[in-house]
């Protein structure tokens, strides 16, 4: 979230939710939308399904899954045509909006309506309401990201905010609603295959930086990787992305072309729902083929259940959140300190204990924990003690290292104090009072240093940087195609001692940008750039001059590194509209992303899928279950709310196939898999689509896998996983599966 929930409650006049059903996925978050609504804010919900959130909306727009970009361009077309855009904002703070304008010109309301299924009247109504009501927030969630065009989706919505000048405004902005606690934190800490923590990437500079903070040599880190060198003589696999959660199984099966030193032989699962990923049958085959599967979870992860293998599976009891202590990042980037409630029960161990034991066994424990014994002295990271305190020293390690998103101010002392003084913060502004005066609750990142109060609203130029303000980040160079990427001089924040936009601060440019002269000692201690400056000197000067270390730049509306620099509509890989596939085809096939080849256009145009699979299939979440549901389905109360897997189907569609209400039906997917689920007649779906929860597992293609659960671990409810039939399709950048726009054929069972 660029803003926070309290800000929405207090300031938003309009909230447009696209591809988010927070009433189900984040009920507490949704409360704030309802509170804003009670204050008079309008709530617009854009969704293929009439969700519980939609039921509370002032305006509900039903679109076809996978057409968010078309719908957004429809809005942009109307906004530009009527001159409702915020021209000043576009001129001063954005780059390449003309290219967006050109693309939007193609999307007349009629075409947007033809593609998305929203009516022309609705597009006109929403465009006018969104453009003219300020501040207006856009909220989204997995309905936007989990698409074969997910990364374009996540760009087009911020563009809407930029065009209307809602970015960086209280009550405006882009609100990405996380569905579990610490999803934000897990991302920040890079539980991912393509970056080191803090979005530093996998470049050599990043590895060098991390080698320093961890107190090990780069050579040591290199020695942990396969020794193969690339053409430039660099360690090939160290700088290459790993396999992603979405397609790791190809690393085992190697059916599509893979790029790795060897096939994957062992899978270690800790804190993730393998059964909530698409292509379940492939995942099963991959697990069957592995040498070994280790599952370290509080509850039996159904990764261990879907396989037929009888040995080579190890289930380790990991502790729950109540048995651990540490920090979490909330959906609004605030940190929260979590206290241990009970000691880990029975044999279970906290996640870090499990990892420590692993490191000890494999002989790298000392290197593994060394970072926690170190601190910064005169710009150098040095070891200063022989022991460490969990979790405080881990938090300190993060604070001294992760400068990219401004975690420098997150010291354990400050975060503990915030936890102890909840009552001293205002829920609407996050501002503290009394003892906590001058700080925002949870120090929402970026929190540049130990004096910084945190930033409740990102890119807010109405506040001084030292009080949580900032411009857009200068991350993509000084200029592009001869156009400056720096904000113009009208964008001067209060308290800023230099005028207008400026680049990100580096050792090389800081003297010029701020007009200062560094001493030799400072130069010696200073890191190469603000994000890698252990000494903190760059931030010290930035504070003094009221500037933001990452610069004050323009928001780019095009991403020239991406296959689609300008986000464009592309039909889902399995599209119900063959005519539109010709007009808006998928990207060319990919040879290597996350070490594996992925089919786009070849899959999309292999045949007219809609002939054989005429029904759109989309997924949803149930409020009582999260993720793969393995945790909640072990609760008798939660599982009794939805005792069975089902799919929502419109009575008209069902009767066409002779499927009765509460009767069983088969759902067949284009890749030849099928699931048997109960049909629930429901008018939240139209007659062209079905919708089903993804929170079940334990039954596969009609086969009950109850016998595979270790004795006493079978959840109260099991069911078919919708991920068995979720269609093939992945985002070209993030490789997230296409969970939301697929095709299927239903059949009476």
């Amino acid at each position: 979230m660029t803003n926070h929930f309290g800000d929405i409650v207090a300031n938003s006049k309009l909230i447009m939710m696209v591809g988010a059903n927070s009433a189900v996925a984040n009920p507490i978050g949704f409360k704030h939308f309802l509170q804003a609504k009670d204050r008079g804010a309008k709530l617009i919900v854009v969704d293929p399904i009439f969700t519980r959130s939609a039921a509370k909306a002032d305006i509900y727009v039903r679109i076809r899954p996978g057409t968010d970009i078309a719908f957004a361009y429809g809005l942009l077309h109307v906004i530009f045509k009527n001159g409702w855009e915020d021209k000043d904002f576009i001129d001063h703070r954005t780059y390449a909006m003309d290219q967006i304008r050109a693309e939007a010109a193609k999307w007349t309301p009629e075409e947007a309506s033809n593609v998305s299924g929203a009516s022309v009247a609705q597009i006109l109504e929403v465009a006018e309401l969104y453009a003219k009501t300020k501040p207006a927030a856009i909220a989204w969630s997995l309905g936007i990201t989990q698409h074969s065009v997910g990364s374009s989706n996540t760009r087009i919505l911020p563009i809407l905010a930029l065009v209307t000048g809602n970015a960086g405004k209280a009550g405006g902005g882009c609100q990405i609603i996380r569905g579990h606690d610490n999803v934000q934190g897990a991302t920040d800490m890079a539980n991912l295959a393509d970056s080191l923590p803090g979005y530093y990437g996998l470049g050599k500079a990043a590895w060098e930086y991390y080698a320093k903070t961890w107190g090990v040599s780069l050579e040591y880190l290199q020695s942990r990787f396969h020794p193969e060198l690339d053409a430039k003589g660099e360690h090939k696999w160290m700088h290459a992305k790993g396999f992603s959660l979405a397609k790791w199984w190809q690393g085992v099966l190697q059916e599509e072309k893979t790029h790795s030193s060897a096939p994957i032989r062992v899978l270690w699962v800790q804190g993730t729902g393998i059964t909530s990923m698409s292509q379940q049958v492939k995942i099963k085959e991959a697990i069957d083929k592995l040498d070994m599967l280790v599952v370290a979870e509080p509850f039996v992860n159904e990764a261990a259940i879907i396989t037929d293998r009888k040995d080579g599976i190890y289930i380790l009891p990991a502790a729950t959140q109540f048995e651990c202590e540490g920090t979490l990042s909330a959906t609004n980037r605030s940190a929260q300190w979590r206290t241990q409630v009970v000691e880990p029960l029975y044999e279970s161990k906290a996640d870090h204990e499990v990892m420590f034991a692993f490191a000890k066994k494999f002989g790298f424990y000392d290197e593994y924990v060394k970072g926690m014994k170190m601190r910064v002295e005169k710009g150098e990271v040095v070891q200063y003690k022989d022991d460490f305190v969990w979790p405080d020293d881990a938090v300190r390690e993060i604070a001294r290292t992760v400068k990219s998103i401004g975690l420098s101010g997150w010291t354990p002392e400050r975060l503990r104090k915030h936890q102890a003084n909840w009552h001293l913060f205002d829920p609407l502004t996050l501002k503290g009072h009394g003892e906590m005066e001058g700080e925002y609750y949870g120090l929402p990142w970026p929190c540049w240093d130990e004096k910084h109060p945190g930033s409740p609203v990102l890119y807010d130029v109405s506040k001084p940087v030292n009080e949580g303000g900032m411009g857009f980040r200068n991350r993509f160079g000084m200029e592009h195609n001869g156009v400056s990427q720096i904000a113009d001089e009208t964008v001067t924040l209060p308290g800023q001692k230099i005028k207008g936009g400026y680049p990100q601060l580096t050792k090389a440019n800081i003297e010029k940008v701020l007009g200062i002269t560094l001493s030799e000692e400072e130069k010696a201690q200073m890191g190469p750039s603000w994000a890698m400056d252990f000494s903190g000197i760059i931030q010290k000067y930035a504070r003094e001059y009221g500037v933001c270390v990452y610069g004050n730049a323009r928001a780019r509306t095009i991403v020239w590194e991406f296959p689609d620099p300008v986000p464009v509509h592309r039909e889902p890989i399995h599209s119900p509209r063959w005519d539109l596939v010709q007009k808006y085809p998928a990207l060319p096939d990919q040879d290597n992303n996350f070490r594996v080849a992925t089919r786009f256009i070849s899959e999309q145009t292999k045949q007219d899928w809609s002939k054989e699979f005429p029904t759109i299939m989309t997924s949803m979440r149930l409020v009582n279950l999260s993720g793969a549901g393995m945790l909640e389905r072990t609760s008798k109360y939660l599982s009794s709310i939805t005792p069975e897997m089902f799919a929502n189907i419109h009575p008209d569609l069902a009767s066409k196939y002779g499927i009765e209400d509460k009767g069983m039906m088969w759902i067949h997917a284009p890749h030849g898999t099928k699931i048997k689920v109960r049909a629930h007649y429901n008018r939240s779906v139209t007659a062209d689509r079905i919708c089903m929860p993804y929170n079940f597992a334990g039954v596969m293609q009609g086969v009950d896998l109850s016998a595979n659960y270790p004795e006493g671990t079978r959840p109260y409810t099991i069911g078919e996983s919708s991920c068995t039939v979720v269609n093939y399709g992945f985002d070209p950048i993030t490789q997230i599966s296409e969970f939301n726009a697929g095709l299927c054929r239903v059949e009476k069972a």
């Binding site: 009433a23 189900v24 009920p27 507490i28 949704f30 409360k31 309802l34 509170q35 609504k37 009670d38 204050r39 008079g40 009439f50 519980r52 959130s53 939609a54 039921a55 509370k56 509900y60 409020v623 009582n624 609760s635 008798k636 109360y637 939660l638 009794s640 709310i641 929502n648 429901n682 008018r683 939240s684 779906v685």
Partner: protein, 210 residues
């Protein structure tokens, strides 16, 4: 009778309720109820129908003239001074009459008897326990937690994720709800708001707020 407005009441704001089941699960969990006993229920009407879908959480409304207490053949009900309607499970025979008299389906019946015969009735106690010794183990076992005696809000309302479920004296609850409705600019709705005062007098069903 003492001032009717000082009696404790529940009210569920249907414009806020999103069917998240937090109240239901909180209740079941806090009182360790058997599965199938729903002292509190969330029901969605017109599920999926655009413009008509409404969710609402219902439990015992603790009626001032509690019809259940009027029909009980063994007279096991009693109404506390603060308006909480409770019953004595020792006396209850599980006949089901209170359910027939109740407009809201509050009374629940565990099927623990011979051939699935209904056991003693179980219903929302507004987290106020029962006639046994307050906060004793046996009270907790028989009637669930007694949070009221500890000055706590009933667990359902405490857990409500959207603050849809309100609890308090009729006066306070209607005041709170009226503020909300007026802020919504739908003053017409304020007139329709009702708190269950007298269960079967058609006139008074419209409520206290008029």
């Amino acid at each position: 009778m003492e001032n009717i407005n000082s009696r404790l009441k529940f009210y569920c704001d249907a414009d806020r309720c999103i069917e998240c089941f937090a109240c239901v699960v909180a209740c079941q969990n806090a009182h360790e109820l058997p599965v199938g006993i729903a002292r509190r229920k969330v029901v969605t009407l017109n599920d999926g129908v655009e413009g008509k879908e409404t969710s609402i959480s219902i439990a015992c409304m603790h009626c001032s003239d509690a019809p259940c207490s009027q029909v009980c053949p063994v007279d096991c009900f009693y109404i506390r001074e603060d308006g909480i309607v409770l019953h004595d499970k020792e006396k209850c025979i599980g006949c089901g009459y209170c359910l027939y008299a109740c407009p809201f389906g509050a009374p629940q019946f565990p099927k623990d008897g011979v051939f699935g015969a209904k056991g003693a009735m179980d219903k929302c106690t507004m987290c106020a326990g029962g006639p046994l010794e307050t906060n004793s183990e046996i009270e907790r076992h028989t009637y669930g937690q007694n949070r009221i005696s500890e000055g706590k809000v009933p667990v359902c309302a405490a857990m409500c994720s959207t603050n849809a479920l309100m609890i308090g004296t009729s006066e306070k609850v209607s005041e709170l709800y009226r503020t909300r409705v007026l802020a919504r600019g739908e003053s017409k709705e304020a007139n329709n708001s009702y708190l269950w005062n007298v269960a079967y007098n058609k006139q008074s069903r419209k409520g206290l707020t008029q």
